[in-house]
Symmetry: C2
Subunit: 257 residues, 2 copies
């Protein structure tokens, strides 16, 4: 039975896409069948995996509005052994088009019903907002949300707002919604601020914080320009080592290894 | 007559808030009367200027829905000599509440009518999305938009989408909407990627790119935790020197100095 994790944080640029892609790549290396769902109209996850826009027939937008079954648009990357449901800028239109539909927050969850069995892990990448697309990501997060938190002050500010959105989704749409874990990203040991942020996040989220902390590493920012996850681009870099450790931590705590 | 610049980019974490706040602080140092409008429900600009949430009676949300005139909520910071219209998480509700209102994209522009004369510069900070709040920011951008672009690959991806949104706003809502400038941020000279990005952005936007490039500087990420702009927190840091230079470049090309 596939586990579904959604990467969410309305603060921009905290490492949602980078974490979904690179965790997915290492889960693939450890033999897991992985599907990445790009729920962001920016389509960054789609471009991180070097998907050629010309071959895309459809993707998350078409699946959400029910044009065709989701599996019709999934693309498989044989080198990485992971699949992706690509996004496009059309997806931004879904926020408006779905507003008056019944069950508008559950469109993704329903569209995914037939594919969950085929994968071990489904990772959903959300845009930096708390609109209808992210709500669809939260309702579809069958096994919980992963919250990337950049180790910088402004990223702390949004956590209480994110928490209250999660509470609201729990009370109205999806009572079992849980936090799978909080992932500290872009940790820069040269600044005292980073250590203060880590302590603050641990005080707020306690044992929900993953042991693995992702350091700031230029290689992680370079990898997307080559259309490769860090596992291919710079497998010995500190960023690669961290995402590898994260994938093992998640597999172990999921009871898979 | 006040000049109104809106900081916009749907890509998250590219330096919109950091640029609005620090440019504003240096324009204040050069004797300009500055108002910062925080149009982001994350309220990062509000917290960068150390506004105590307890004293906030209202802000951008109330001004947008027309509860009271905008000037009733403006707070002045005597040390920085700049004013701010604060935001709150309630502002996220405005996206939904305004959807069916006539002229919903012009609410901010109308609310600002009475205050434009009082300031030399009004800087509007937008959230990382292209929804109704950002559209209000675009329609209110009387003197143009400033587009911060992080010197990283994923930030390049969103530029064509931003450009097409600007075209759409021009054709339907605000024909005179122009790009005041593209600001390269978080430039890290240690990576070859950064230089490639700079060349790519200059190829795409030509002479719209500001001469001043903002380098990556840890001090800029630390300043918000002290509630200070960089001009107070670390005035000799490379980040401060860059925002000082940007303010002089803007004043000179605006014909003010
Ligand atoms: N650990 C890291 N070290 C250095 N750079 C990183 C790291 N993680 C991500 N980056 C870079 O930082 C930028 C922001 O990361 P990313 O785009 O993954 O964040 P996001 O939360 O998905 O952004 P958005 O809110 O726009 O969706 C990107 O340019 C990415 O390459
Ligand atoms: N030149 C810089 N050097 C180092 N850090 C920076 C720089 N500019 C901004 N930062 C830091 O990077 C993070 C993102 O910047 P900021 O929040 O200003 O971007 P934003 O575009 O406003 O984000 P959002 O999309 O969430 O509104 C913040 O933690 C900020 O302190
Ligand atoms: Mg992203
Ligand atoms: Mg911001």
């Amino acid at each position: 039975m596939g586990r579904v994790y959604t990467f969410v944080n309305q603060k921009g640029g905290v490492g949602k896409t980078t974490s979904a892609i690179n965790l997915g790549a290492y889960l693939g290396i450890y033999g897991q069948k992985v599907l990445i769902i790009d729920l962001d109209p920016q389509a960054n996850a789609t471009s991180c995996l070097n998907i050629d826009r010309q071959i895309i027939q459809g993707g998350t937008y078409e699946a959400l509005i029910g044009a065709s079954p989701l599996e019709a648009f999934v693309l498989y990357n044989p080198r990485l052994k992971i699949s992706i449901l690509p996004s496009s800028s059309q997806l931004a239109g879904a926020e408006v088009e779905l507003v008056s539909e019944i069950g508008r927050e559950s469109k993704l969850k329903i569209a995914m019903k037939n594919v969950i069995e085929r994968y071990d892990y489904i990772l959903i990448d959300c845009p930096p907002s708390l609109g209808l697309l992210t709500l669809n990501g939260l309702v579809a997060a069958q096994d919980g949300v992963i919250i990337p938190v950049q180790c910088e002050y402004l990223a702390l500010e949004g956590l209480s707002r994110l928490n209250s959105t999660i509470q609201r989704v729990r009370s109205v749409l999806f009572p079992e919604l849980k936090v799978r874990g909080v992932l500290l990203t872009m940790f820069d040991s040269r600044t005292n601020l980073a250590n203060e942020i880590v302590n603050e996040v641990k005080r707020y989220f306690h044992n929900l914080v993953f042991q693995t902390i992702i350091p700031r590493s230029i290689r992680l920012a370079e990898a997307p320009s080559f259309g490769q996850p860090i596992s291919l681009y710079a497998p010995k870099s500190i960023g690669a080592v961290a995402y590898d450790a994260l994938s093992r931590e998640i597999l172990a705590t999921d009871g898979v290894i």
